[in-house]
C-alpha cells in the first residue's frame, strides 16, 4: 500500500443536534472532491472505519455537558494539530446552555424519572472553556459555504475569510426593506453576526440571532429600542436567550431584561396529560 500523505480530517460530536456536521455532508457537490483532497480519518456519522490520530484538522460540534465529555475533549485536543469548533453549541454552549441558569439538577429532575442514572454537569459550556481552540465558526446551524472556506483556509494554512459584520448590513446589501424601521418588527439584525445571508428578514421575519453577536454589538441600545417600540421586556429577554444564551453579550442582556422563568423553574411543570 502506498503511503497516504493527504492531510487528515477528524469530526467529533459532543452535545448537539448533528446539524453542523450534516452541513459537511450537505456539501453534495464538493463532498467527493473533499474526500479526495483530505483523508477523512474519523467521522463516526459517516464511516465505520476510523484511523488513529494525530489529526491535522479536527472539527468539533457540540457543547460540554458531562464529566466524560470534559475528559474526551482533552483527548481530542491532544490528538489534533488544529482544532476548529463549528456551531452555536461548540462555540457558546447552545440552546442547552439555558440550563446554566437553573437550580442544581432542576432540569434532570424535570425530564428523567431517575436523575441518579444520569451523569451530567449543571452547565453546558463551549469547547473554548475547556481547551484552546484555533478557530470558531458561528451559526445555528453553520453555513456550509463558510465551512468550506474554513476547511480550505485550514488546509492552505491561511486565516479563513469569514464575515464579522452584522445581519443588518447584509440585509442592506440584499436590498431588503428594514422590518424594524418600516414595520416595528422586533429584529436582532443590528447586533447579530452576518453569515446566514440575512435569511429571516428576506421572508418577512425579524432576525432571531442564530449566528450569535457581531463584533462590538450594542445590545443595550437595541434592547431599549425594542422595548420602546412596545415589546414586553420578558419577550425581549426571550429573544436574546436562545441559541447564544451561553455567550455573554446575548446572555447578560437577557438577564438584564429579566430572563423570565427561563431555566428557573424546578419541578416538572404541569404534566401535559
Amino acid at each position: 500500500m502506498s503511503p497516504d500523505d493527504r492531510p487528515t480530517l477528524a469530526v467529533w460530536k459532543f452535545a448537539s443536534c448533528d446539524g453542523c456536521q450534516l452541513s459537511l455532508l450537505d456539501c453534495e457537490d464538493e463532498l467527493l472532491a473533499l474526500a479526495g483532497a483530505v483523508r477523512i480519518a474519523h467521522f463516526t456519522e459517516m464511516s465505520r472505519a476510523a484511523v488513529a490520530g494525530p489529526y491535522d484538522v479536527s472539527l468539533v460540534e457540540g457543547s460540554i455537558t458531562t464529566p466524560a465529555d470534559a475528559e474526551r475533549i482533552e483527548e481530542v485536543r491532544a490528538s489534533s494539530r488544529r482544532l476548529v469548533t463549528i456551531g452555536a453549541c461548540a462555540t457558546a454552549g447552545g440552546i442547552q446552555a439555558l440550563r446554566n441558569a437553573a437550580r442544581g439538577g432542576a432540569y434532570a429532575d424535570a425530564v428523567y424519572a431517575h436523575p441518579e442514572y444520569l451523569s451530567t454537569l449543571e452547565t453546558s459550556t463551549p469547547i473554548s472553556a475547556h481547551v484552546p481552540v484555533d478557530f470558531e465558526l458561528q451559526g445555528c446551524p453553520i453555513d456550509r459555504r463558510q465551512l468550506l472556506e474554513v476547511l480550505t483556509a485550514e488546509l492552505a494554512g491561511r486565516r479563513p475569510v469569514v464575515a464579522g459584520h452584522t445581519v443588518c448590513q447584509q440585509c442592506k446589501g440584499r436590498g431588503t426593506v428594514c422590518l424594524l424601521v418600516a414595520g416595528g418588527t422586533p429584529c436582532l439584525g443590528p447586533v447579530t453576526r452576518a453569515g446566514c445571508g440575512a435569511l429571516c428578514p428576506s421572508v418577512g421575519r425579524g432576525c432571531f440571532g442564530c449566528f450569535g453577536p457581531a463584533e462590538g454589538a450594542n445590545t443595550e441600545a437595541l434592547a431599549r429600542r425594542l422595548v420602546d417600540d412596545g415589546l414586553a421586556p420578558a419577550d425581549a429577554a426571550r429573544l436574546f436567550a436562545t441559541f447564544y444564551v451561553g455567550q455573554p453579550t446575548f446572555g447578560d442582556q437577557a438577564v438584564r431584561l429579566g430572563l423570565p422563568g427561563v431555566g428557573r423553574r424546578g419541578g416538572r411543570g404541569e404534566a401535559p396529560r
Binding site: C17, G19, L32, T120, L199, T242
Partner: protein, 434 residues
Amino acid sequence: MSHGSGAQRSVSVGGLARVEGEGSLHVEVRDGVVEEVALDIFEPPRFFEALLQGRRADEAPDITARICGICPVAYQMSACGAVEDACGVHVERRIADLRRLLYCGEWIQSHALHVYLLHAPDFLGCADAVELAERDRAAVERGLMLKRTGNLVMETIGGRAVHPVNVRVGGFYSAPSPDSVTALAEPLRRALDAATATVDWVAGFTFPDVAGDYRFVSLRSPGRYPVESGRVASSDGLDTSPGGFADMVVEEHVARSTALHARIDGRLEYLTGPLARYALNAAELPPPAREAAAAAGLGDVCTNPFRSIVVRAVELVFACHEALRLVEAYEPPAPPAVEVRPVAGSGTGATEAPRGLLLHRYTLDADGVITGARIVAPTSQNQLTIEGDLRRVVQAGLDLSDEELTWRCEQAVRNHDPCISCAAHFLDVAVDGR
C-alpha cells in the same frame, strides 16, 4: 468487536457509526442462546422538555428544531401541530399543502442520506460512502443528487436546509413565489427518475433471511400516504387521535440509556418508521411508487428489517412524486399564516419524521406560555424493537465469524435509521410507578 468462543460469546460496538448521535450495542450469548441484548444510548441529554417551560408557544418550532439537525422539519411540524391543537386552530388547505411539500423535501434529503451514505455501504461491504464511490461513483453521485434536491426544496420553501427559518405556528412567514416553486419541477423530475433507479439498485442487494413479528404504528390519513397529519393506526387494529395515542404511550427510564423506552399501555412494544408506514398505507402510494415496490418484490407488508432500505427507496419515489404534484398544483396561501390566539389548555401534534412517528404535547397558559411539554421521538419508540431485532439477528447468525456478526449487528441497528440525538432528550415527566 466480538470475542469469546465455545459456550460464551459477546459482541460489543463501543461507538456505533453511520447513525445520527452516540450509541453503542452489546450482546451476550451463552450456550448458543442470546441472553442479553442492549442498545445503549450515551448521547448527553439536553433537557428540551424542561427548557421549553416558560417559553412562548410560538418559539417552540425553532427551539425544538434544534433537537435534530437531520429532521428539523419534523420537529417544527409536530410543534406547530401541538400548539394549533391546543388553541383550536386548523390551517387552510394551501398552508397544509405547503407544509407537506416542505416535509417531502426533508424526507428526500433524509432518506437519500440514509440509503446512500449510511445504509448501502453495509450491503456492499464498504466502510463508508467514500469507499463505495471508489467502486461505484455513479451510484453515490445519484444519491448526492437526490439529497441536493431534497435540500433545494427545503431551501426554497423553508429558507434553509438545516433548521428552516420560514416556518411559524399557523403557517409560514411568507409564501414562496410561484416562480421559485415552479423552478423545483425540473430537479424533482430528475430526482423521481433517480429514486426509481434507487429502488432497482437496492432491490438487488443480498438480504439476510430474518423476519420480525412487529406491531406497526403509523399515522393514517384516508387517500394520502401519511406525512404531516393523520390519525394513529396500528397493525393490530388501533385507530385513535394523536392525543389519544399520546395518552397510551408510557415511557420508561432505564439505567443504561438517556433515551426512553416507549410501550403502548406500558407493555406493548411497537415499531414506527418506513416499514410501519408501508405496512399500514401501501394502498395509498401513487402508481409509480407502487409499481417500483412491485418490481422490487415487496409485498403489501415487509417484515424483514434488512429490506427496510427497499421500503425507504420506495418512499423516496413517493416523496419525489408527491413533491412534484404539490409543486404543479401550488397556489400561494394568502395570508401565509392563520392567526393563532393563545388558549389555556393542552394539545398534541403528530407527524411522520423520516424515521418514524414524532409526538409533541404541550400545555399552555392563557398568555401562550408553555407550562409543560412532552416529546416522544421515533427512536424512543423503536428502541425495544431494535433490541428484539438484534436478538433475532444474533440467534440466526451464530455461525458467522466474529467480525461478520459484529458488522451484522451494527447493520441491524442501522436498519431502523435511529436518530440518537432525537432519542436522548425525552421522557414523560411522571412515568415511574404508573
